[in-house]
Amino acid sequence: MAAITTHDLVKVYGKVRAVDGLNLTVAEGTIFGFLGPNGAGKTTTIRMLTGMASPSAGSAQVAGVDLGADGQVRQKIGYLPEEPAFYTWMNPLEYLEYVGRLFGLPAKQRRQRARDLLERVDLAQVAKRRIGGFSRGMRQRLGLAQALVNQPVVLFLDEPVSALDPAGRKEVLDLIEGLRGQCTVFMSTHILADVERVCDTVGIIDQGKLIEEANQVELLGRYTVPAFVVECEPEAQAPFQAWTERLRSLPWVVSVNVENSSARVVVRDLRQARLALLEEATAAHLPLRRYEVVTPSLEDVFLRLVGNHKEGQA
């Protein structure tokens, strides 16, 4: 079942179409990485899905509730903006209790939930310290806690770690990973390594349009290039060059790009080439340093997709 669906969602600001006909389906219980370069429309999409902005056209459903249905969706979601802001005169316990009151939690449950969440985000020791003195990492963790007070069905996280140092990033990503199976997480980011680490499914947006949406493993598989990287010791550069020339004439080789003592060999059939290429190298008595099948990273896929999209637009 889908936790989020959007149909031709559009947001226009003056002459700019910040979101341009977005059709998206996020399965329940997944951690969805919403990827895109800066200004792609990620935050605008989240603002519409959380009810903070109205769509110019199209429709959306979050946790089974239509957007604009008297703000009912707010009862079922959690939201952490890119830069969470708090009442600095409050302490974390007061803040979470206040959020609990807004969700109508009974007093005892509210207090217990606040304490549990502070424990979970490692802020229990500073539960009664003014938020005004908190570091960015502490604020981000408190932001995550406040988004979880109502045990949301869908949790929206807008660039949750982009402003944090490596230690802070790890802490917050660990917390997000810990939410797997508890709720659907919709996380926007432009940091691909974070998506690779925690997200099951990925959607790539550029210039307001969704250009790809798939399970991460499937996506990487879909964009796998049947290629090898072969590298030999530098002293064997001359025979290596000759060998790469020979490779170009073989029917199962598509292209060979050589750089010093390293070559990238693109082939027609990966399975066939796996055996043949190594045999060729052995027959040429090359002292190999590296021989591997190229596996694309999410970054390769992202750059390729965004690049293709931009070329298509041009």
Binding site: R47, T50, Y79, P84, W89, Y98, L102, F103, N150
Partner: protein, 252 residues
């Protein structure tokens, strides 16, 4: 429940950010000092070099002077504080991002706005009551005991006058993108109403007539200006309604 939570938070904020304390101190001071200033005005003027001749001309202070001093001082400072303490109520939350955090929860925008108005109104009520108690005590001590019911009515009229400017500035704070604009709306309204007040035919209907009424409560007890009360209440309701209508459509 959400109403109660929002109002509780706003009142807590009034106290923790020292806004209520500032109000208590300022209005409390003028509540206390007004009867003293009325009583000792001739002596104070006599202290000024060359002021002895003027002091001789000042008639012996009466309880009426204490009322006039009290109404003038507290209303002038209260209205300035009403504008300054309301100017950031909404626009500051929008600027800082705290409004987004709260309004993504099941907190209605109307509740968000009205709780702010109620909390600021509450701070002014408490502060004016404290100023009233201090003013009453010193008036009794230096002159004679005024009628307690009338004294309370005097303070409630000043409170209502402040509520008009709290509502106007809150509307400014909702519409504006900066606190400077919000404060401009408050002072602009003060100026426009003062200009209209220069026409005697219009003056009796304006909020400033509440201050005239409070000053005349003891000297002309039979004179009443109910029309200015209804107009003031109308301005308050209209401003809050306009603020809500605008805020519910704003994108955060």
């Amino acid at each position: 429940m959400r109403w109660a939570a929002a109002i509780r938070k706003e009142i807590m904020e009034q106290w923790r950010t020292s806004r209520l304390l500032v109000l208590l101190v300022v209005l409390g001071f003028f509540g206390m000092a007004s009867p003293l200033m009325a009583k000792f005005m001739p002596e104070l003027i006599a202290f000024v070099p060359g002021g002895e001749q003027f002091a001789m001309l000042i008639p012996t202070p009466t309880i009426q002077d204490a009322f006039v001093q009290y109404v003038k001082n507290t209303s002038q400072f209260a209205v300035l504080l009403a504008i300054f303490l309301s100017m950031g109520a909404v626009v500051q939350e929008k600027e800082r991002g705290t409004a987004v955090m709260m309004l993504s929860k099941p907190l209605e925008r109307g509740t968000f706005l009205l709780s702010k108005f109620v909390a600021i109104a509450f701070s002014f009520l408490v502060s004016l009551l404290v100023a009233g108690v201090l003013g009453y005590y010193y008036t009794v001590f230096l002159f004679q005991a005024p009628d307690a019911g009338q004294w309370l009515a005097l303070n409630l009229l000043i409170w209502l006058y402040c509520l008009v400017y709290i509502a106007i500035t809150l509307l400014g704070s909702t519409l504006a993108r900066s606190q400077a604009v919000a404060v401009g709306v408050g002072f602009g309204a003060l100026l426009v109403l003062a200009l209209f007040g220069s026409f005697p035919a219009v003056n009796v209907y304006l909020p400033a007539q509440l201050i005239t009424w409070s000053g005349e409560l003891f000297s002309h007890p039979g004179v009443q200006y109910w029309s200015s009360v209804w107009i003031s209440l109308g301005i308050i309701v209209a401003c809050l309604l306009a603020a809500w209508l605008s805020f519910r459509k704003q994108e955060l």
